[in-house]
Amino acid sequence: MHLITCPFCGPRDETEFRYGAEAGKQRGTAEASAEGWSRYLYGQRNPKGETREIWLHLACGEFFLLERNTVSHAIHRTQGLRREDRA
């Protein structure tokens, strides 16, 4: 069983968390082409190895950044997404 560190609550059981999306996606503007919008909605890097993702702690509702490896499942780091967390 994995322990994942919520930036707000600290280490908790993996079953309390949910994967959200890959980090770093940029939403297009209203003028985005169908292809551009499709890339934003559905396109995935889906990397084998190191990855940066947005996760959700279901218990407290905090979204945060999680860096991990998709082959070893090792979790390197979590970080809050609030302005003060990123400073």
């Binding site: 079953t15 919008w37 499709s38 559905y42 995935q44 889906n46 190895g49």
Partner: protein, 420 residues
């Protein structure tokens, strides 16, 4: 250039049994790769081998190589729970999956290789009046699309699966279900080996332990692959590498709408015959059948964490086992024998991606999610058609990558409401 092969039959068994088993030809050849082919299929699982077989058989293209980084059928073809069915909702999906089921029905004869297809039927069990409404809708859709389906009552479900939990205090009481009598199981390895043998016989080169490391791209066109055994050239390349589709797509310079997730499965210790059909519960999400050896083969939903680790995670394992024991309390006495996982391509609308890729010369067969095994014959047939003619088969047309930009998704997760 076709290669000789032994014809498998009862008579051949008898003859070889009496003469010391020395007359069998190898099931397939293991040649060194040539420098160039007319077509290359990347991936030696069921879909890749079926593609090569149909390229040779349907289109007369025999100067073809299948390139596999490990051994034949060692990925998801060897890791699935062997269920074949076509109980889908949308006409496009039914056309696709029922084409596969019909090919499966004639495959042992076509390949002269016993794939041990057992059409023992499958029941998707509903646990409330609302689920019965949805089940009736699915049965109607299947019947309109020309596929066999029947709405089962509680009594009919308990007749085909008498060990199911029928107690008044059951967490998921049985209201009825969707029955497809033509569904069943087939021997997964035999499907890969049968196609490999058929393709090799027709002249296809099957190259194992050879990993594709990059694509050769010249003037914006895919001209071949770089491999651990050197460059191999061809102007038509098919990708059938479920689980790793994104990894190879990145090498070819584009991204796919795919998440790779682990799908786990497990078997119990073998017992005498207790279950002669396939059962899926809408409540628990667990499905189960009994293998010819007597093991209960079961699985459930995805581990919803993007992963390339071919192993299952404990929380979902617990959920799947809990589901099984809830459905069949008697199975709680059994021990788990093995547990494993395969990495599957999951697409937002739970429908496959078949068609040209953004790189000219490279064609896609991916995104089958948790249901690739049942689709092997049609996946191979469609990819072969694409590679041979350069254009879609009527059946594969709705499944192109362009649907994610046009918005014409085929959302089977919402449509058929069953695990994918």
């Amino acid at each position: 250039m076709s290669r000789p092969r032994s014809h498998y039959s009862g008579l051949a068994l008898l003859r070889e049994g009496l003469s010391g088993q020395v007359g069998w030809q190898p099931a397939w050849a293991s040649p060194s790769p040539k420098r160039a082919y007319d077509a290359i299929v990347v991936g030696g699982g069921g879909h890749g081998l079926a593609t090569a077989y149909y390229l040779a058989k349907n289109h007369g293209l025999t100067n073809v190589a299948v390139i596999e980084k490990g051994w034949l059928g060692g990925g998801n073809t060897g890791r699935n729970t062997t269920v074949v069915r076509s109980n889908y909702f949308y006409p496009e999906s039914v056309a696709l999956y029922d084409f596969a089921l019909r090919l499966y029905e004639g495959l042992s004869r076509d390949l002269n290789y016993n794939i041990m297809l057992s059409q023992r039927g499958m029941v998707v069990v509903a646990h409330s009046e609302m689920e019965m409404e949805i089940s009736a809708r699915l049965v109607n859709a299947m019947q309109i699309n020309g596929v066999d389906a029947e709405l089962f009552s509680r009594e009919q479900v308990l007749k085909v699966a008498p060990l199911m939990n029928s107690q008044p205090n059951a967490r998921y009481p049985i209201f009825g279900g969707v029955w497809q009598g033509r569904a069943g199981v087939a021997r997964h390895d035999a499907v890969a080996w049968g196609y490999a043998r058929g393709a090799s016989h027709l002249g296809v080169d099957i190259i194992q332990n050879c990993e594709v490391t990059d694509f050769i791209i010249e003037a914006g066109q895919c001209r071949g692959v770089a491999t651990t055994l050197g460059e191999i050239r061809a102007d038509r390349i098919g990708l059938a590498v479920a689980g790793h589709s994104s990894v190879l797509a990145e090498k070819a310079g584009f991204a796919l709408p795919i998440h790779s997730y682990a799908l786990q499965a497990m078997v119990s210790e073998p017992v005498k015959p207790v279950l002669d059909t396939v059962v899926l519960s809408l409540g628990t999400g667990t499905y189960v059948s009994q293998s010819d050896k007597g093991e209960l083969v079961f699985g459930g939903g995805l581990d919803r964490i993007p992963s390339y680790a071919q192993r299952g995670n404990p929380p979902l394992q617990e959920q799947v086992v809990s589901g099984l024991v809830e459905m069949f309390p008697a199975f709680g006495q059994l021990k788990l024998l093995r547990q494993w996982a395969g990495i599957v391509d999951v697409v937002p609308d739970s429908s496959p991606i078949l068609g040209p890729s953004p790189l000219p010369g490279l064609f896609l067969n991916c995104g089958w999610g948790t249901g690739g095994f049942k689709a092997i014959p049609v996946g191979g047939w469609m990819l072969a058609h694409l590679m041979a003619t350069g254009s879609h088969h009527e059946i594969s047309k709705p499944f192109g990558l362009d649907r994610f930009a046009t918005g014409r998704l085929i959302d089977e997760a919402a449509g058929s409401g069953i695990a994918h």
